[in-house]
Amino acid sequence: MSTSQTTTTDHHPALVHQFDSMEQQKEASTLGMWVFLLTEIMMFGGLFASYLIYRIKYYDAFVAGSTSIDIKWGFANTLVLIGSSWTMAMAVWSAQNGRRKGQVYFIIATMILGAAFLGVKAKEYYEKYDECHIPGHVIGKGFNAWGGCSATDKSLGNIAEDIRIPPHGDPNIPEASAELTAKQTEIFFSFYFAMTGLHATHMLIGLGVLTWLLMRAKRGDFGPEYYSPVENVGLYWHFVDIVWIFLFPLLYLISRHAHAH
């Protein structure tokens, strides 16, 4: 920080020079955070808009792709993330109310839940990797939703077969057409990985920031006077939670009723 002798004498150590008061500083940082979240909305928004357009265009393939994902992990992860949102909210509450220990515990709890989420995500990704459902042909074994994949268990993730197996599938569909639909699920998986990938990246960044926050909280930086960092990290974390609240139904729940597994 550059020189700040000119400002008022009895100011809080956290007050930086360009602001006149803690209040101004807090309001500025809150507004800054919200404006940042605005940009985040638009960033995910671009993905959501494209997703919607393709979902209309390739509905069958989206159904086939979506049903090939194991719903229970997505469901569990939703609960985990909601839980972490609650612990995060409590961390902010503790900071506001001057409970230092509470702060620390709740931040740790949030981090554990966040890590659990990422763990589950990694497991899901691995499953998709194993089933040759990674789009493109650079990572993994090349996208191959229609069998012939050298996966450990070939019955897994053969979307082309699923499309033709009753009661959910229709055996009338010629093999070639089913394979075509299966190939089109590549678009679904492109979105699946792009959206959950961007989300997971945000979670990773979030964990990093939480680590920093934890250190500061332990040091006792925050209290009823000054808790903007806790609050802002909270805002970020809740935002990431909200994105997931939408991703879950959009990616996991397309026409599940017809394909209950």
Partner: protein, 542 residues
Amino acid sequence: MSSANENVMPEKHYLNDNYGIRSWLLTKDHKRIAVLYLLTITFFFFLGGLFASLIRLELLTPQGDLFQSDTYNKLFTEHGVNMIFFFLIPSVPAVLGNFLVPLMVGAKDLAFPKINLASWYIFIVGAGFALAALVSGGVDTGWTFYTPLSSGFVRTPVIAMGVGILIAGFASIFTGLNFIVTVHRMRAPGLTWGRLPLFVWANYAASLIMVLGTPVIAITLILLVLERGFHIGIFDPKLGGDPVLFQHMFWFYSHPAVYIMILPGMGVISEIITCFSRKRVFGYGFIAFSSIAIAVFGFVVWAHHMFVAGISVYSALVFSLLSYAVAIPSAVKVFNWTATMYKGSVELATPMLYALGFIGLFTIGGLTGLFLAALGLDVHIHDTYFVIAHFHYVMVGGMVMAYLGGLHFWWPKMTGRIYPEGPAKLAALITFIGFNLTFFPQFILGYLGMPRRYHAYPPEFQVLNVLSSAGASVLAVGFILPLIYFLWSLRYGEVAGANPWDAKGLEWQTTSPPPTHNFEKTPVVTEEPYHYGTEQEVPVVH
């Protein structure tokens, strides 16, 4: 302009507060960051200008005999990318805006100085990627990166370029975020919204676009890079994707971005016109509000770049109609500026010359935008030189003129010294003449049907192309001159004093150059902006 040498440089100011490379590279002072940006984008302007010169050289003859086709394609792509993303978008906001917004609102700095510095570093990293792409051969997709050409066909470093632009985008987001928070939360006592200088209003409006639009281009470029790098199928028709979707996503940002490129310039014009007419601005509220209107309406017209791209007739209708809506606030501005001069006391100093040039050229450029927004007519002139002429009129005739005008106007504030008036007036004149000679023939070329991005063209277009190339060489002189005399003035220019133009506005109430913390005491605002006519008032200097 005062001539006598009673002006002295202040003893301590932001430039000599600290010395050494570190004090610049680690600075959190918005004024120094503005200077860093100034140096960076000047480099990119001349780089882009170099490519432009080569383009015009090639187009002297119809055969396309100077360069290979691929080389030519790289030239216009690099020209467009450098000029748009690395020069024009940061030009007024990141240089003049960075320098002036805190001064104009009477703050010690922007709300988040660290983020401001980060913005410049991010920009440099982005620029590094772009330059790496250039050095390793250059990209030949056109600045619009249309798929599937860019994702699957060309063999040039598109990924590096895409990543560079995407990173530079975050620099823009950070600048916008900083401005928004600063304007909302750090105005000096008494500085109500109704008293904000129009330059601040304009930058605020542009910031809204940066914050809301830039993330979309970021995600679009990420998808493009993933598609090219990993062959996933979002836009590639081979994999079932829709290339037109890329265009939607690209223009959702890039149309509003043209208003990032003009709004801050409009702000500059409002400041200059009032100062050199010595008058309050005509219709303050309307000018201020029209900036916001442009920013908002600018988001709902993007598909007017796609009238023949295969979009539905109904959405073409909607987007055309809305395009006309966005033209109205621009009209309001032009008329208000003109009216401001009425019964003024007009002095034709260099900044004023640029400002008047801006009004004329922007009017022509904007009105030719109406041709392009007209559905049945755009079918004919889309992707011809008519479009090229249109946007050079608004971007070079408009924004670059405004930027140069602003640089001249605030040069004394930034450096403490005044540029030489004679050469400066000459340069403004040369620029104006050269500009029109370069780009006016292109309107005719376009209507005749000469397609853009053509390396070779039918011989009947040659005469007009030669005129255009001749103009470009005149224009080059007009742009090189300021570079020379600005540098000269750093050393030999007259000392300016705090307020050489006798202008109103908080930035003139501190020393030139200003001290690191801008004001000795937080200023208190009691007057409306542009309270010219109350000349007796003595500026508060040291």
